[in-house]
């Protein structure tokens, strides 16, 4: 299946909610508006032509300088035709809410919990959205860029010498 087929079908269905399409680097990457992210993934999965029936992975990303800083990146795979697609969607830090895709893929359950754990993205409709790898009483989201790797109260190291 050609990339153009996928892009045409997505544009036909979602039109202006498709923000950006990138075919130049790596696999086909489509950035979509956050309210339709769930619908886009459902469309990709259930459309008899596209058949992206396998959720390879799902992860968060944080660009603190952008207008919509928090992002979720979905990698879908069509196992029949061996096509891969990457779906990105971005949201604000103040309302980090996205519809959950656990109703489409069971696999999304822990992946979304991990993304919540790391970035604090709230997946609406998730059956059990709580931290998975970190302790429950943690009060911050460690993968956000504002949280430094090391304890900043340490005085025995000069970061200038470590290129940080």
């Amino acid at each position: 299946m050609e990339n153009t087929t996928i892009i045409d079908n997505l544009y036909k269905e979602f039109g202006r909610d498709i923000f950006e399409v990138d075919t130049a680097t790596d696999i086909l990457t489509v950035t979509v508006a956050s309210p339709v992210s769930h619908e886009v993934i459902r469309f990709l999965k259930e459309n008899p032509l596209l058949r992206f029936n396998f959720l390879t992975t799902l992860c968060g990303i944080h660009y603190p300088d952008r207008g919509l800083p928090l992002g979720v990146v979905y990698h879908l795979h069509n196992l029949t035709d061996n096509n891969r697609i990457r779906i990105k969607t971005f949201i604000t830090t103040t309302t980090p809410n996205l519809p959950s895709v656990t109703d489409l893929f069971f696999a999304a359950n822990w992946m979304e919990r991990e993304t919540y754990d790391f970035y604090g993205i709230i997946f609406e409709g998730h059956p059990n959205l709580k931290r998975i790898l970190n302790v429950d009483y943690m009060d911050y989201f460690p993968m956000r860029k504002e949280y430094p790797l090391e304890d900043q109260t340490r005085k025995d190291k000069d970061d200038r010498y470590f290129g940080r």
Binding site: N53, F54, T57, C59, H75, R86, F105, A107, L149, G163
Partner: protein, 391 residues
């Protein structure tokens, strides 16, 4: 009489000897039958994805070692290939074939452990002790190649740190000669063993459809009857030069998973043998001085090598802006690296697709309604590696 029977809560783990790793299952039991389980993971979470954002590319190789430590070379090489994909480096056939040899050896060690542990959990310790010796021999091959055994830190971006030496070649040849007899004996011990078959057939089954929905990959998915293998679907490292079969099961139960792994052992052995016989002459690294860490002898004797060494180690080299997803067929599934680079010395974001993190969540469904001793078998047949689970 209460409406609900008085269930027992049983803590399996976090340090239970039969779970082969640190993860907890809080089981709700009705006598010997499992009603439900609550999984808790994260006991050895080391924040690899966060650390990776602060480390240069070579320092990340050592992080990948510690994910699936039963087959560290696959992780190392998978990571190096991801970086090569980002940089657009094309490797030579010799590098590709050497990588295939090492990755398949790693697959052999992993499958040997996993399958023999299924034996242990069903009460047959003999096979485990027997094949562990061969795993040891393969670790000796790693030692010849990289100097390390468990966390190998093998290879470089753009090839290998040194060429394969005659001692390593000899050890691989010895292994190819010796292993078939041992595998046959191991199979004789378990494969048609009445007790083993009774204990594993129909235990912890999952249908192909549900396995796909749960994101299964690797031998576990193939045992359910889906012939998905990254080595064939998106061939990397010249896997398309070789002929090998992908074994597929039917029921997705513990016995099928065992059999699929057992057949993969034979296929891996064949791949190692074919790659070694057809190993082309040529260089064991490609000419990318900005990224290939030069050999130590040259660093001490050549000005240019010293400069590159310094620049690479001190993180003076910027990696181009880009975004790639690369996956390899790890020993327990599709091991993926999603790398976002903003042009600095470290990744902007690095996400590891860890196969067992994704498929382990199907465990409650697979063990529900079964007995406790079967749950242990199901768990070990899924090949869950705690290091990879928690990353």
């Amino acid at each position: 009489m209460p409406e609900q029977p008085p269930y027992t809560t049983l803590n399996l783990g976090p340090t239970h000897p039969a779970t082969h790793g640190i993860f907890q299952n809080v089981l709700t039991m009705d006598g010997e039958t499992i009603i439900d389980t609550q999984q808790t993971i994260g006991y050895i979470h080391r924040a690899f994805e966060k650390i990776a954002e602060h480390r240069s590319y070579y320092q990340i190789t050592t992080l990948t070692d510690r994910m699936n430590y039963c087959s560290a070379p696959i992780n190392n090489i998978g990571w190096h290939m991801t970086v090569e994909k980002l940089l657009g480096i094309k490797t030579t056939k010799r590098i590709d074939y050497l990588r295939i040899i090492l990755m398949e050896l790693a697959r052999i060690t992993d499958h040997l452990i996993c399958n023999s542990v299924i034996g242990v959990d069903s009460g047959a310790l003999t096979g485990f002790i027997y094949v562990f010796q061969e795993r040891e021999k393969i670790y000796e091959i790693y030692e010849e190649i990289s100097g390390a055994r468990l966390t190998t830190n093998m290879g470089r971006i753009g090839g290998f740190e040194r060429d394969i030496n005659p001692a390593a070649v000899q050890k691989i040849r010895d292994l190819i000669k010796r292993l078939p007899a041992i595998l046959k004996e191991f199979e004789k011990l378990l494969m048609r063993n009445r007790i083993f078959m009774d204990r594993t057939i129909g235990v912890g089954p999952i249908s192909a459809e549900r396995a796909l929905n749960y994101g299964f990959t690797g031998p576990n998915l193939r045992a359910a009857g889906v012939d998905f293998d990254v080595r064939v679907m998106t061939p990397y490292s010249s896997y398309n030069d070789f002929e090998f079969t992908i074994p597929v099961g039917t029921n997705g139960d513990t016995y099928d998973r065992f059999c699929v792994r057992q057949e993969e052992l034979w296929q891996s052995l064949k791949l190692v043998s074919d790659a070694l016989e057809n190993l082309p002459e040529g260089k064991y690294y490609v000419d990318v001085p900005q990224f290939y860490l030069p050999p130590k002898e040259e660093v001490y004797s050549k000005m240019e090598a010293l400069i590159w060494h310094f620049k690479i180690v001190m993180g003076e080299i910027d990696v181009p802006v880009g975004e790639v997803y690369h996956s390899v067929e790890g020993s327990n599934g599709e091991l993926g690296f999603y790398l976002v680079s903003d042009g600095g010395r470290t990744p902007y974001r690095l996400h590891f697709r860890r196969p067992c993190f994704i498929y382990y969540q199907a465990l409650p469904e697979m063990i529900r309604g079964g007995v406790l001793s079967d749950a242990i078998l199901t768990m070990s047949s899924m090949n869950v590696i705690a290091g990879e689970l928690d990353a």
